[in-house]
Amino acid sequence: MKPWLTRMAVGASILAVTGYLLTPLWIAALLCILFYLLLEPIVASLQAVGVRKDLAIATALLPPLIALTYFAAHLADVGREYLPQLGADIEQLQLGITRTVASFDIHLESVLGVQLQLANQVAALDLRGWIQPERLLASTSWLANVLLNLVLVPPLAWFFLRDYRSWRDQALSTLPNHQFELGWLMYHRVCNRLQAYLRGLVLQALILASITSVGFWLIGMPSPLLLGALTGIAGLVPYLGPLLAMIAPVMVMIAGPGLDPGALMEIILVLAVGFGFDNAVVIPFLLAGSVNLHPAVAMVAVVVAGHVGGITGMVLVIPLLGMLRIIVETTYRGLQSP
């Protein structure tokens, strides 16, 4: 086996093992990377005007941390108030879905003369047993894990912003002489494209969440901010985002007043405006060409990643594939040179 291949295999194994060991901390790691990508330019511009590095980091880090703490506290409050009545709401939701499907059954029978009796099948579903809010409430391990992750974010983000460059330099110094420059080039290309893509994604989510929050507030939906935030997150999933974004507002509508065609049209209109702006303005300016994957490859990858890793997998698969493509292309070009 060639030495560079051995080194690559060892490196990949170390990365895989580290990734596996850090699985419980993925929320903290993800937030730290996002903080680094978003705040590093602010820290650099503060340093450029003569602010000390530690002070620049503190200045850049404090506002988002305060916002994160406020959001976490708000979410905990909402959860504490809402979880006890979740069971009743799920029953209400199932009732709403059954009613909607029953009216669809009647409509189908009157038009086509077919009796599918879908409503009976929906009624037979045990949604409450499936979600089990009591068990969710009693189980504290997931809550402890989320809290641990959130507590770890400030110190990790601080160290990330302060020491990332020296960690990177040390890591790249371990490369053998003949791969030293190639390693730097590869790192730079991968980082440039990934930074542009991830920054674009965050801005895209914020813009989509803002537009749809206002829209949901205008049409009188309950918790418009939360629904807008969920739409922003769903919008991160390429191609399937608009469909996923429909789920939360439609479920809220069914659990509340029931399925109303007028209200459904309003929800679709809000999402159409949000995603229309996203596709016409945000994506061409912020994300176009940053990863350069064929749409067919991207769609298949998103579906497979969704099956394997859920929403997180769907959001992360495109940047990961883009990174893999850049690494393979650069390595191939580097290995081809004399």
Partner: protein
Amino acid sequence: MSHSQRHLWENPFRRKDPASATREAWRNTPLLSDVPASVCNKLVERTHLRHYQPGEYLFREGEAGVSAAVIISGNIAIESDEKRIAELQPGDFFGESALLQDAPRSASAIALSEATVSFLVRFQLEEFVRHRPGAGLEIMTNLARLLVARLHRGNRGSGKIISEATDQ
């Protein structure tokens, strides 16, 4: 003064700072001339010291170049099309065009003896300039002067060749 020699008045118990030779070598390059010592030291902290065996390539012609280098010890040969163009000594600075552009190396560099070379990577220089625009401007001006001087030298060389060809 070589590393092995030590003057009588130097404190024999004081440990020699291994980074001082690198700092001195970089400070004497045209890239960092007239740049304050404190700024030089900050930049030199970001350089990478690498060791080469005789016959080992530092880089090859046609490879992507991303760094400039200063020889700390040993000798380096610069070769193009298998012809030796130059032999470089400790303190010599080379590969500076890679600090500006993403172009392939125009020549190969090979160690003639055991050599220690300090590399400054373009991306780290860019980060440095972004964080310290004032000092960065001086460094980039020095780099531009250096490249213009080399361009003039190249033009004079090619002019000489053309006039020789016309005379013949």
